[in-house]
């Protein structure tokens, strides 16, 4: 039975990843920002249904000490950490000249620096284990240059570059590092784009609809599982063909 850390687990794609992993018999430390009793009830039901554990872990990605403390708590359980899914992130929009340096730093801190921080901590445990799979949540927004997404697009581009770079550093330790780059997905965060802009994007896609969170979770599970044992340093676009 494998164990996974999933960040941003409370909603959207993260919630679907928790559901998918649990259904595949993977135990989960489900990480999110705010304690949520309803969510914990859902975790408990899911865990019981599939015979796994799903432990809620709460921390603030913007606070380095909070991140370290949470990881220490997980490691203190003395269980292997086989999978890390760096899924948490925040949306941001605005033209370059409408983006303050403060906002730019905030988005880069949460969507990039914090993700690297978690990789640093978890990879050292995986190195000692001699195995592991890390999946970062990229975005086609970090591959496709569109006006109005300087902070978000740059943060996701940085994370995807880091994915490829770190895959070379961690490969010798038996750790695979990949990313999934979703396109438009039917989540709260996916609804950040204005309807008109979303319609325009969808009209140019071979598969003309938004993706479902579970369609992203399926790709994440593939990268987490041994089915992808010869894949590392890859970015898998799950975007309905938006970028071809």
């Amino acid at each position: 039975m494998a164990n996974a850390i999933v960040t941003g687990a409370s909603r959207g794609i993260g919630r679907a990843i928790v559901e998918k992993f649990a259904s595949e018999g993977i135990c989960i430390w489900a990480c999110s920002h705010n304690p949520d009793t309803e969510l914990e009830v859902w975790y408990a039901g899911l865990a019981e249904k599939h015979g796994v554990f799903i432990r809620p872990v709460y921390f603030d990605l913007a606070d380095e000490q909070s991140v370290s403390g949470a990881m220490k708590g997980i490691f203190a359980e003395n269980l292997p950490v086989d999978i890390l899914v760096n899924n948490a992130g925040i949306p941001s929009g605005g033209l370059m000249n409408m983006t303050s340096t403060g906002e730019l730093r905030r988005v880069l801190d949460i969507n990039f620096v914090s993700q690297v921080r978690i990789m640093q901590l978890v990879s050292r445990k995986m190195m000692r284990q001699g195995n592991g799979s890390i999946i970062n949540m990229g975005s086609v927004g970090g591959l496709e240059a569109r006006p109005g997404y300087l902070a978000y697009g740059s943060s996701k581009a940085a994370l995807m570059w880091a994915t490829r770079s770190v895959s070379k550093e961690l490969g010798p330790y038996g750790i695979r590092v990949n990313a999934v780059a979703p396109g438009l997905v039917d989540t709260d965060m996916g609804s950040y784009k204005k309807d008109e802009e979303a319609r325009k994007i969808i009209s140019g896609m071979p598969i003309q609809r938004k993706g479902e969170p579970m369609e992203i979770a399926n790709a994440v599970y593939f990268l987490a599982s041994d089915e992808s044992s010869f894949i590392t340093g890859s970015i898998i676009n799950v975007d309905g063909g938006r970028i071809v």
Binding site: S68, K72, F75, Q120, R124, M127, R128
Partner: protein
Amino acid sequence: MTNREKYVQAFVEGLEINADQTEGLAYEAIPEWDSVGHMNLIGCLEEAFDIMMETDDIIELNSFEKGIEILKKYGITIA
């Protein structure tokens, strides 16, 4: 096993060297203590003392003696 023995053993395992090579050893002074060896060493130290080192400390740990100083921050005394 004393803390010093555990500390030396971490160098032996992490860098794949002999115990008599550890005293006075510095980062990149021998081929075994390169960046890859360094991460192996950090892993062994974290496991031996059940700690999670901060990135700044990992960067600053550039000698056998400096490591003893850094470990004090984690409440580990090596006599």
